[in-house]
Amino acid sequence: MAGKIDDYLAKLERTRVWRSVFRGGTGSSTLRRALAIQQNVFLHLFSTKVRRRMLRFNATWYLGTLTLGTFLILVTTGILLMLYYRPAVPQAYADVKDLQFVVSSGLFLRNLHRWAAHTMVLLAFAHLFRVFYRGAYRPPREFNWVIGIVLLMITLLLSYTGYLLPWDQLAYWAITVGSNISATVPVIGEKVRFLMLGGHQVNANALLRFYVLHCVILPLAAVLFIAVHFWHIRKDGGLYVRQSEPVREPAKEDESVELEKV
């Protein structure tokens, strides 16, 4: 039975359609493995080969990957929440209540979105501290640190813009206070606040602007910078590992040669 399935799969992989979709295909040779990474639109951002010790939990605690994980949860749950939420003053609050009490699994999705958002901010900060205290921000990785700071700002702005959308008292006054903080910027502060809210008060325009920022502009910016962030890991010679750290598997470490910059 298993042999039959293997035969069928092998035949499938030889078909013209399959070969046109997965150009490189898989295989056990070093070249085939490298091509499988390099020729994939998503994976080509990464190194074709990595040192084994870079992938150990101890090296990074996987904090960056976990941050990406929460971001993917947020994108998925966020898109689903958008199906029931209308960013208009008469509907916004009621729609959120409907999500909680009327829509099947709505409460689960909303809570997942909220908790993932909190977790993402926490993980982003943890990642930043981890990188800082290990000195992984130093050359040649200094520009990737800068991109990381931009991503932290985008994360905080996503948090802030999402905070208004439930349109309850907490949201209203938090955005009132936050927008008044931005108004304290010298000279242009009042103008910044006016453009941000689309008016003098937190009102319909502010809700719509924050919605567009939260659901379109900031996520697109985040995806763009995440891609550059990952690509830079490869360009900067892979993840940072301290030279002084003991290598647990020296034989296998030598086996995977340092990857060339493709």
Binding site: W173, T176, V177, S179, N180, I181, F194, L195, G198, G199, H200, Q201, N203, A204, N205
Partner: protein, 163 residues
């Protein structure tokens, strides 16, 4: 031959080459287009019509306020105060970060729930992070005997409206 080159060279350096001419033209027009885009974006993002409440509020008949009373109008975010000296109105928006304050009858103060600023009945700052006292607003009596308040006009404090 070598001398000839030396004499002709400075001339060609002063002339603008075709390449640099087009580069300058390109960068210049790009700059103009960017400035235009910025101006366009700024104008587009500033709403020309705002559906916000009028700054002028009708606070009702003057006789409906008792002497020594402080009344908060939640919707318009103003206090209407009647003291023995007369009437006045004040913004109820905290001067710190814009939260709505509340009148505490038992303590005789105005308090902000967000960051704990305290104000006196006349709007004077008593405690907290608020940088300024609560502003007094222009108040007058309409022909119908209603108290009118213009929230966009701040007046100096202690200008009571005597009726």
């Amino acid at each position: 031959m070598a001398e000839e080159k030396k004499t002709t060279r400075p001339e060609t350096e002063q002339e603008i080459s075709r390449r640099s001419f087009f580069t300058k033209m390109g960068l210049g027009s790009l700059g103009i287009a960017s400035a235009g885009t910025l101006a366009f974006a700024y104008r587009f993002l500033s709403p020309n019509v705002l559906y916000e409440a009028s700054p002028i509020v009708n606070a009702g008949q003057a006789e409906s306020y008792e002497v020594n009373s402080v009344t908060l109008h939640v919707k318009s975010a103003i206090y209407l105060v009647r003291l023995p000296e007369g009437f006045f109105s004040m913004s109820a928006i905290c001067t710190h970060l814009g939260c709505m304050t509340a009148w505490k009858q038992d303590l005789g103060i105005i308090a902000c729930p967000c960051h704990g600023s305290h104000f006196s009945r006349e709007g004077k700052k008593l405690a907290g992070p608020a940088p300024k006292p609560l502003p007094w607003l222009k108040t007058w009596l309409s022909d119908d005997g209603d108290l009118m308040v213009d929230r966009s006009i701040v007046i100096h404090p202690l200008q009571f409206l005597r009726i």
